[in-house]
Amino acid sequence: MAERISHDVTPPRIGPDAHEELEQLLQTLHEHGVLRLAKDVVGANTSIASVVMDGLGKESTLNAIQNLAILGMMLSEIPPDRFYRVTFALREALDRIGQYQPGEEGGDAPGVSGAYRMLNDDELWRAVAPLVEGVKAFAERLDKPIDKPVSDYFGKPTSGP
């Protein structure tokens, strides 16, 4: 006589536990060479630290770090749209400078006022003229109204993402 039995099963563990997750992570790190890299880095830690410190200790590196910090401080205080205008104005100025082609009239010195010799120094004028063009472009771009930097950049108006 096999009477009916009521029985509660032992609840199984569902899904991986931390150890299994760790095992999977280790395997993935191994397969992608990250473990080897990490192993190499840790194995050579003294030498690497020494190289890093040599580099960090140089005045130029320290200057770079401090200057980046200053840039960060400054950038944090500039509204992005103003910064965009200045940087893109600068970009256009630089573009104009780079693209400067002395024209027939632009190749000669004005030669009327100012320092006579300077104004008559064609070579000097040819050198300065691109810079003047750059300044003009810089000023033009600064004067150009923009809605949003991204709209100005992509040429597509947006009311925001």
Binding site: A2, R4, I5, H7, V9, I14, G15, F154, P161
Partner: protein, 987 residues
């Protein structure tokens, strides 16, 4: 299909003609941006993102069809601007936070299209809509702020599932998707079939199972996500969208190694839905049906889409249990398998092979079924092997064997879809085979298919029917035979077909003499003019499919009624042509396969009869033994097995994945029989009601933890892949059975289920061309399958499966039901399934949301009876049969009529079979579950309505033609792209 050549941006492309341009280009490896178009839904024309230019005119790519000479330009500035404007309008309605979104898994259409289009920045700012997120459903969520109003969900609900719940009010000031015109999801007619979620191109409609589970960053709480989103949005106003999209692309790729998509086959009903199951570790993220799935395409039901929590249930059996001093103790596999093998052989040696009985699972794989019958026949030497088709479908098979020869559906779901007339008899198709019901509803709605429903119960299909006839229960043979007679008498019989293909026409026609319309009207209660109307529709139709299920088979003359239906189809020539045939709706996912692969008391795999010498010799040769070693006597089916156990004739039973203690009739006798067994093995996923009687319980894996094949109601063999590793120490069925056999001295050496299938295909001609290779991915085969792999979607196109190639009209006699109401037991108890649950709730019962839809059992009482007896909604009643009593609260509904009650089969530990009797169909011994006379007492107890007010049955669907894009276009503020839109969020 014809091919054509089109010219795209000056390049000539050759491909299929008459295809939507989007699909044509996709086949060429070219992605035309699109969001609302879906191959299973067609062109919705709402997203305005797929513009192309034809002859200088803008056209939506989804509406263009490939044809010779079509010249398409996609690169001009104007057309590019139009596409980008379309996408900008979508993005105005959808907040992009992809990196922290659950849906950024590689299949988000909106995300992928935006990235592909390299949108630098969206033109219109996203703004919140004045609608709350709808989290009322336990299964999915609708977020209006993410909704792009593409209408895919509406189209799927209105015209694929045809539940007609969803709509979009494009004319309103702030359109959104609406449920029943403005209800909460869970308070609407939504049946949680999941179509809308499946086709949503973004995260507006998303499975709740995804929440916090999909991506490395998506699990963060919204209190953290929200400020992160705001920061990125702020940065995006300067950086543009590209770097942000880059981040989400990285996130999407980060998810890929963890997320696994595996094709599997649903293990609920017999439709045989297949889909991708998306998992991360053991968590099931979602079930994602795909257009390529051969039986269901993008369709599912509530169970297939959402009821998979049982897989990770803490109640799962994960180690063998052995009965020991009145309790179960956990054991290891070696001890359990040794014990099983030893005891089965001991019983055989002591009492003979026929003292053992085997029940294979109609939910398990074909390979499982094959191995169960191989152990029974090859090792034990008995044909006492069966499956639960004995309780439901054997009468239908018998009816088909008697007439047309094959025990399966005559055609495929495609045939049902294309039939001019569909007749549904004794089948609550909308609840029991929801996806097939959806196809019929769509054919009726979209293509004018005529639907006739003949059923005592007014279910959804009855309400939708063009003609609904409501006979007295158990009288189907009568009206079917009367209709057959009508066909002969009114020159509607297909004489040419009968002459060419059918035997016994004269004898059969003569036998119809008693079946006059008058007699049928008197006995069935169907009015004569309704019978005539049905006969005229069926007789004059060019193609008729007739579907039936347990409303026919679970009667004392179920085989005869099934035969009468098949006779009617023969008389009207409705076999062997597209859109015709008889379709017994198989109930369990593999009830067809379990029978096909030999778990039948008298049939080998492929239906060779055990007493047929040729079949016996073939199997003996295939198994390398003498034919004498195989019994040529049909064994006991499971119903008789249990009775034999009660009489101590059967001493040991091995039951795989069947809840016999719950599903066989007259529960008291079943339990007594099990208690009398000397040895009982149950192999299952849970400690079922049946397993509680076992001496050894073997923990098996559910379908998603093993490979195998299944046969759906169409006879379609499909391959299912392993989604997850077996939980704990549970094992695949095929492996357990192989191990048991090995310990009984028969080491068959299977290391993969494909080897089991290969062996069966080698021996059984019906499966000669079946192989795992030919079933790879979404491929499937409908038996019989020739050696070269050619399968048979439509049977009887060149003859019938009888010896002379002809069908037989089978003479029948009308006999009334064995158990009918009398003076004391004055009511008739009907019973059946509900859409939300499955069988004894062993699987569906582990999903909390299912219980939220239907918290407990009930009995349906007709309004007339309720008024007569003073029963109100929620009044408890005691229902007593000649066997026992059950108490349930009442639901008052016109789904039942007069003195018929209906009780769902799912609830209670003893369940409805405490009331049913052992009277059965003498041809196949299927218990007459639907013939139970009962009496009803009203108890002095009243509770809440058993069906909660939010249940879909109380909803009010809002049928429409689909997505009403014309309303959107008709708004005064709609402009065609590339012109910019003043208020893109409003449409």
């Amino acid at each position: 299909m014809a091919n054509c050549t089109i010219v795209l941006d000056g390049e000539r492309l050759r491909g299929r003609a008459d295809e939507p341009l989007v699909d044509f280009l996709k086949a060429q490896g070219i992605d035309l941006p699109h969001v609302c178009y879906h191959p299973s839904l067609g062109a919705l024309e709402t997203c305005d993102a797929c513009w192309v230019e034809v002859d200088g005119e803008l056209k939506r790519g989804c509406t263009l069809k490939s044809a010779d000479g079509l010249r398409v330009d996609t690169r001009g500035a104007h057309v590019r601007a139009a596409r980008e404007e379309g996408m900008d309008r979508l993005l105005a309605k959808h907040e992009l936070y992809c990196t922290v979104c659950e849906n950024n898994n590689g299949d988000c259409t909106l995300h992928n299209t935006m990235v592909d289009m390299q949108i630098p920045i969206q033109r219109y700012e996203f703004q919140r809509k004045p609608h709350e997120k709808d989290t009322s459903s336990p299964f999915y969520t609708y977020d209006p702020d993410q909704c792009i109003l593409c209408g895919r969900c509406v189209e799927a609900c209105q015209n694929v599932e045809v539940n007609e719940t969803l709509s979009i009010d494009f004319a309103s000031d702030n359109p959104r998707v609406l449920w029943d015109g403005g209800k909460e999801i869970n308070d609407s007619s939504c049946v949680h079939c999941g179509h809308c979620v499946t086709v949503c191109p973004c995260n507006a409609l998303m499975e709740n199972s995804m929440n916090g589970k999909a991506g490395p960053f998506s699990a963060m709480p919204w209190s953290l996500k929200r400020p992160m989103i705001e920061v990125v949005k702020k940065l995006e106003t300067t950086t543009g969208a590209v770097p942000v999209s880059g981040l989400s692309e990285i996130d999407m790729h980060l998810r890929q190694p963890e997320i696994k998509c595996t094709k599997t086959v649903c293990t609920y009903c017999g439709v045989g839905c297949s889909f991708e199951m998306w998992t991360r570790d053991r968590h099931i993220l979602k079930v994602q049906p795909v257009p390529e799935a051969p039986a269901n395409g993008i369709s599912t039901c509530i169970k297939g889409k959402f009821a998979w929590d049982f897989v990770n249930s803490e109640k799962r059996l994960t180690m063998p249990l052995i009965r020991d001093n009145g309790r179960f103790r956990e054991a290891d596999w070696d001890e359990a398998l040794d014990l099983v093998a030893r005891r089965l052989l001991e019983v055989r040696d002591a009492h003979g092979p026929d003292s053992l009985g085997f029940i294979g699972s109609s939910k398990g794989t074909n390979e499982q079924a094959y191995l169960v019958q191989k152990i029974a026949r090859r090792i034990i030497g008995t044909n006492n092997v069966d499956n639960s088709s004995r309780y439901c479908q054997n009468p239908a098979t018998k009816g088909l064997f008697r007439t047309v020869g094959y025990g399966g559906d005559a055609g495929s779901i495609k045939d049902i879809e294309q039939a001019e007339v569909v007749v549904i008899v004794g089948s609550n198709t909308a609840e029991n085979h929801p996806v097939i019901a959806a196809r019929i509803k769509a054919a009726q709605k979209l293509r004018g298919q005529k639907l006739i429903v003949i059923d005592p119960r007014k279910h959804e299909m009855a309400e939708r029917a063009d003609l609904f006839l409501r006979p007295k229960s158990g009288t189907d043979l009568l009206w079917a035979s009367a209709l057959s007679r009508y066909m002969f008498d009114h020159d509607l019989a297909d004489r040419e077909f009968l002459e060419r293909w059918v035997n016994g026409v004269k004898e059969y026609r003569d036998s119809l003499a008693p079946f006059t319309l008058e007699f049928a009207e008197t006995e069935t209660g169907i009015e004569r003019q309704d019978l005539v109307e049905a006969a005229e529709i069926i007789g004059r139709a060019k193609s008729v499919c007739l579907l039936w299920a347990m409303g026919i088979t679970q009667h004392s003359r179920g085989s005869d009624a099934s035969t009468a239906l098949s006779n009617l189809l023969l008389v009207t020539g409705n076999y062997g042509k597209p859109g015709t045939g008889g379709y017994p709706m198989r109930g369990h996912n593999n009830v067809q396969g379990a029978s096909d692969f030999g778990c039948l008391r008298d049939r080998y795999p492929g239906y060779g009869h055990v007493s047929d010498n040729e079949a016996r010799e073939r199997w003996a040769e295939g198994w390398g033994i003498s034919p004498d070693e195989l019994s040529d006597e049909p064994g006991y089916g499971n119903f008789l097995m249990v009775q034999a156990a009660d009489e101590r004739e059967i001493k040991a039973m091995y039951i795989v994945g069947e809840e016999t203690a719950f599903s066989d009739s007259n529960t008291h006798n079943v339990h007594t029989a099990f208690e009398k067994l000397d040895f009982m093995v149950v192999q299952d996923v849970f400690l079922s009601r049946t397993a509680e009687f076992a001496d050894v319980v073997l923990p098996a894996c559910p379908s998603v933890e093993q490979e195998g094949t299944y046969v759906n109601t169409e006879r379609r063999i499909q391959r299912s892949y392993q989604v997850l590793e077996p939980l704990g120490d549970s094992r695949p069925d095929w492996r357990i059975l192989t191990d048991v056999a090995a310990r009984m001295g028969h080491d068959w050496g299977y290391t993969h289920p494909s080897q089991v299938m290969a062996e069966c295909a080698r021996i059984a001609p019906m499966f000669a061309g079946v192989s795992y290779e030919r079933l790879e991915g979404w491929k499937s085969q409908l038996w019989p399958v020739a050696e070269d792999g050619t399968d048979s979607p439509l049977l009887y196109t060149d003859g019938f499966a009888n010896e002379d190639g002809r069908a037989n009209l089978y003479v029948l006699e009308w006999l009334p039901p064995e158990e009918a109401p009398d003076e004391e037991y004055d009511l008739l108890l009907d019973n059946g399934r509900l859409r939300e649950q499955f069988q004894g709730t062993n699987q569906t019962g582990r999903t909390e949301g299912i219980w939220q839809q239907i918290p407990h059992g009930f009995v349906e009482v007709s309004p007339e009876l309720a008024a007569e007896r003073g029963i109100e909604e929620g009044t408890w009643v005691r229902v007593s049969s000649r066997r026992d009593s059950l108490e349930f609260p009442a639901v008052i509904t016109d789904r039942v009529r007069g003195k018929t009650l209906f009780m769902p089969i799912h609830f209670g530990k003893p369940g409805v079979n405490l009331l049913t009797g052992e009277h059965n169909d003498p041809d196949v011994q299927t218990p007459a579950f639907k013939e139970t006379a009962v009496k009803l007492e009203v108890l002095d107890r009243r509770g809440d309505p058993p069906l909660p007010a939010h249940n879909y049955r109380f909803g009010h669907p809002t049928p429409t033609t689909g997505v009403e894009v014309e309303v959107k276009w008709g708004r005064g503020d709609y402009t065609l792209p590339p012109a910019q839109q003043s208020n893109p969020r409003k449409m």
